[in-house]
Symmetry: C2
Subunit: 148 residues, 2 copies
DNA sequence: GCAAGGTGCTTGCATTCGGAAATATATCGG
DNA sequence: CCGATATATTTCCGAATGCAAGCACCTTGC
């Protein structure tokens, strides 16, 4: 069991490195976004009011708050993200998804969906992919909201 | 199917970010190694003659060759890794695992195994962990040698 | 009302990483 | 043997990231 757990974790780390390598380049050249940029915007996409606080985003992405600050800065200048204050708490600076951002992230999502389908194109049955998604979902269940 | 593939990929990326966060800190403070350092040394551990070329390591870790050069430099100074030339090809500079390195990576592996077991401690049956490991193994099958 | 501690955000600094270029060596075609 | 191409490694530079510190604001307890 300890061996199996270890194997699962090691393979998960390796698989992620492989996928990130496959996805990053096209995502960057086609949409000008990094993989993490896309994930950030997808979190906003499905959030209530299309907005989330920076610490909330940090938790969902498993990155530090300072990273969120620096990631949002250029996207804000490009008009994909906006900033919104909270009426009750002046500390909060919500990150919002603009209409432009919504279009861009929709296109990025299509690219990701296509690449994802390629990953499982050969030698995978629908049921196997579903099982994998379910099991991984139990790992991420401890986290804030799921994407998709 | 395209939705399921996408879900699986997104969750895989999220799960990795979560696991890396959980593992990195203790691995660094206890053994002075990063997660990637440990993976690099584990690849050497199971390699023939305990040595691999830098490009080979780069492929296995899904990082650039320059990253391998920079990663190995401090570990070499610490006496965990060595350098070995090839008799036939003077371009090759094998990275080797020293006896010191072997002890350190064995300890790091134990830490990783313990943390991996914790991940699946609750709400996971042995069979489920095994299924996850198998499915992930099919993703990494296209890569050079598997760890563990 | 106020002091103490907690939370959200940003900035400075150090570390890590990928890509391009440079160097050295190997291989192949003639 | 020679030139062209390919491969292995390293270095330089720019981009991304975490942590610690600082600032602003909120909340709690008195």
């Amino acid at each position: 069991m300890t061996q199996t757990s270890f194997l699962a974790v090691i393979r998960l780390l390796s698989a992620q490195a492989l996928l990130e390598q496959k996805f990053s380049q096209e995502l960057g050249s086609v949409h000008g976004l990094s993989l993490n940029d896309s994930l950030l915007m997808m979190h906003l996409e499905q959030a209530a009011l299309s907005r989330l606080s920076r610490v909330d985003l940090a938790k969902r992405l498993c990155v530090s708050p300072s990273t969120v600050t620096r990631m949002t800065l250029p996207l804000e200048k490009l008009g994909m993200l906006g900033r919104e204050a909270d009426v009750r708490d002046a500390r909060l600076a919500y990150v919002t998804l603009t209409d432009t951002g919504r279009k861009v992230v929709a296109a990025a999502r299509q690219t990701l969906e296509r690449k994802a389908k390629e990953v499982f194109k050969d030698r995978w049955s629908d049921e196997e992919v579903g099982t994998l998604a379910n099991l991984l979902g139990r790992l991420t269940a401890s986290q804030p909201n799921d994407l998709v």
